[in-house]
């Protein structure tokens, strides 16, 4: 190696010649660079993919929320319709329209019974049924 400082334009200066680097060293350096590049690339791709999936999931969530709101609105409308159809004004109109010939019951002709769950209530209900079967016009025991 020529360590003497000199005029670089000195024609007498001789070239020291190329530094010889081994092929393996070159390969390993390239491989390292490529690995790092690949790693960086992979991280970028994964990051991009994750972001895309997050974005897609958010879109799906938004769509589901919109669908949920629409379903709630439909349920609300259906509920309102049920209330309208079950109003006595509507029912009585239909009774007349279809000539159902319904009439109110006589006092004592109907009775109601509220059952709680359990064996005792089943016994009571069976007794009530039996009493109804004996005398059809008889009211249920109070």
């Amino acid at each position: 190696m020529n360590i003497q400082p000199g005029n670089r334009y000195n024609s007498k200066r001789k070239s020291s010649g190329k530094v010889k680097v081994s092929f393996g060293h070159q390969i390993s350096t390239m491989a390292t660079v490529l690995c790092f590049a690949a790693l960086i690339g992979m991280v970028m791709v994964v990051h991009t993919n994750l972001n895309q999936r997050i974005s897609d999931t958010k879109k799906e969530i938004h769509k589901e929320e919109t669908d949920k709101r629409q379903m709630e609105d439909e349920l609300q409308l259906k509920r309102n319709k049920i209330e309208e159809l079950s109003s006595w004004e509507h029912v009585s109109r239909k009774i007349v329209e279809y000539k159902l010939n319904l009439h109110p019951s006589q006092p004592g002709q109907t009775s109601k019974m509220k059952l709680r769950s359990g064996a005792r209530s089943e016994y009571l209900f069976a007794s009530w049924l039996r009493s109804r079967q004996k005398l059809p016009g008889m009211t249920a025991k109070r």
Partner: protein
């Protein structure tokens, strides 16, 4: 070897190029500094205006239910469609848009084509009319959701986006039961995109049921999607509270059906009725005719729109007799076996007469009530004296509002004792010269039916916060003791049972299988400053409770100016009471307390 002049040339060119690059870099740096630092706030604001969206969220107005949870007043989701016609660039697009709107909405093509005119004439402050871009038109305020979504999709296909035609979620008030309780429930109007209550419970309960708007502030992407970063502010909207009334829809429907029949039978100017539970004061039904259909604004006439049952006060006539006689019994001023001379039907001193010519002869107290004798009642009132009669009427709530949630409620009227004249004693005791509202009378009779304890009338059972589930019950005042003697109520009830039995004034109010205790009232209206005795200008009332010994309901029926058929309380209002109470008792599963006579 490079010649010297060439070397200098390279140097000079290098310096020039370097200087140029340096100048460009400096200029860029200055520009960046100017944009990024000096104009930072300006451009940040500009970017925010583009990427930050402000959105108002609306809660839902509270709904009104009956005591069983049946919906009386609700919200129907719908869509509001508005347009910016100035953004429609071509006439063909305008035609296509109008055609699609006519296909899915309820108006015709020409209407929408006019609405989508790109310019609009506006009058300026100087009076000149100029043509300006049409930036806003309301297309449909309450369009159904399904057709709106179809329209939106079709518009998108032809290139019309939200900048040109926008769709906003909204809701409108709906009354699924139609006319049921319409006057009491009230209605709303749309003023500046808000539901503004106009009458009834909608107005009176507005502070509780009105919703609060919220605000969303967020950064959005180019496609409008909300981003997680950036500005993110949310103030949640709040739904109004739901209201549960004490009204029972089936009982209300029965009452309204019978009032419709009464309108045909008697052809009155108006008729109103109310049913209450005497033990709790809960109003089970409240109805009047004429009425309105809040879903059809054509039914909104001045006569039909008022809540007469709360607003109207009138001279009720003989229904007041039971209250005065009841207090006289309670104070021991009279006893049941006391007798009063019927003055042969005309009491000359007080200038009052009974309805039957020749009078009712010598009557005991129960016969005074049974025959609704003005003379007998007047004599009992004389024994009471002015002060005690005044106290008796006041204790039953005369001149005192019931406190029910109506925007307008009359308090009735009774003159102070100092302003009573010679005949006030005998007139006030028979229901003339004092003004009562139907609700006050109902409350008073609840006091008789409830063993002498007059409950506070209630229409609201509870409020429900839809978001937290919290239930709030309005405070209820303690019942007022109207009879000091516990036996008075039972004695008076026995007397009132005779009113609906043979010999009484309200035989047509009787119900087979039940003892009905009640009192009729027929009063005449003042027309042009004088009492008119025409049958068609009377107020015919019946108020009673059944079953008499353990009352499940108290009902008042008042027929205002019946133009057809009978005009007395027993014959005009009594049958309405009988038919309604019979059906309501069956619905409530109240068994008859005596054998039903065979037909």
């Amino acid at each position: 070897m490079i010649p010297c002049n060439l070397e200098n040339g390279i140097k000079i060119r290098s310096i020039i190029i370097f200087s140029l690059l340096l100048i460009i870099a400096l200029l860029l740096a200055v520009r960046f500094f100017y944009i990024q630092v000096l104009c930072h706030d300006h451009y940040l604001e500009k970017a925010r205006n583009i990427y930050i969206t402000s959105k108002e969220t609306h809660g839902k107005r509270g709904e009104i239910f009956d005591c069983n949870g049946y919906l009386l007043v609700g919200n129907a989701p719908c869509m509001e469609i508005s347009a910016t016609p100035a953004n429609i660039k071509t006439p063909e697009l305008r035609q296509q848009t109008a055609m699609l709107m006519a296909k899915y909405l309820d108006r015709d093509y020409n209407y929408y084509y006019q609405k989508l005119s790109p310019t609009i004439l506006r009058r300026q402050s100087d009076g000149k009319t100029v043509e300006k871009p049409n930036n806003y038109q309301m297309i449909a305020r309450f369009a159904p959701i399904d057709t709106s979504l179809k329209l939106r999709n079709q518009l998108r296909e032809i290139g019309i986006n939200f900048n040109t035609v926008s769709f906003r979620d909204t809701s409108r008030r709906t009354y699924p039961k139609g006319r049921l309780m319409a006057n009491v429930l009230g209605f709303t109007n749309i003023v500046d995109d808000d539901s503004v209550p106009q009458s009834g419970l909608e107005k009176e309960l507005n502070p509780e049921i009105t919703q609060k708007s919220g605000k969303l502030l967020f950064t959005r992407a180019r496609d409008g999607e909300k981003l997680d970063y950036g500005v993110n502010f949310a103030q949640e909207s709040q739904d109004g509270k739901n209201v549960y009334l004490t009204i029972s829809e089936p009982i209300q429907a029965i009452l309204e059906e019978e009032l419709d029949q009464a309108m045909i039978d008697s052809e009155p100017t108006a008729i109103y009725a109310a049913i209450a539970d005497p033990a709790t004061g809960k109003i089970l039904a409240l109805a009047q005719r004429p009425s309105i259909d809040p879903n059809d604004r054509k039914t909104f006439t001045p006569e039909a729109i008022r809540t007469r049952i709360a607003e109207d006060a009138y001279e009720p006539g003989s229904v007041v007799k039971a209250l005065c006689i009841g207090k006289a019994l309670d104070w021991g001023i009279v006893t049941p076996d006391m007798h009063f001379d019927g003055e042969n039907g005309y009491w000359k001193e007080e200038k009052i007469s009974d309805t039957r010519k020749g009078g009712y002869g010598n009557m005991d107290v129960s016969e005074v009530i049974q025959h609704s004798s003005n003379i007998g009642t007047g004599k009992i009132a004389q024994r009471m004296g002015k002060v005690q009669l005044y106290q008796a009427l006041k204790i039953f709530g005369c001149g005192e509002k019931t406190g029910l949630p109506f925007p307008i409620e009359s308090s009735g009227r009774i003159r102070p004792v100092s302003k009573w004249d010679r005949y006030s004693l005998t007139r006030f005791s028979i229901g003339y010269g004092v003004l009562w509202t139907p609700l006050q009378l109902l409350r008073a009779y609840c006091g008789i039916a409830n063993g002498g304890l007059m409950p506070q009338l209630r229409l609201i059972d509870h409020f429900e916060d839809t978001q937290t589930g919290e239930i709030t019950t309005p405070p209820v005042a303690m019942p007022r003791r109207v009879f000091q003697n516990p036996a008075t109520s039972a004695i008076l009830t026995d007397m009132m049972i005779k009113v609906t039995q043979p010999g009484g004034t309200a035989r047509r109010a009787a119900i087979p299988g039940f003892d009905v205790a009640g009192k009729t009232g027929t009063s005449h209206k003042v027309i042009n400053g004088r009492y008119s005795y025409l049958p068609s200008t009377s107020m015919a009332s019946f108020i009673g409770f059944v079953p008499a010994k353990s009352p499940k309901l108290v009902m008042l029926v008042t027929v205002d100016c019946p133009h057809r058929g009978h005009h007395h309380g027993g014959s005009a209002a009594g049958p309405v009471f009988s038919r309604t109470a019979k059906r309501v008792l069956q619905y409530m599963n109240v068994q008859p307390d005596k054998p039903i006579p065979a037909r």
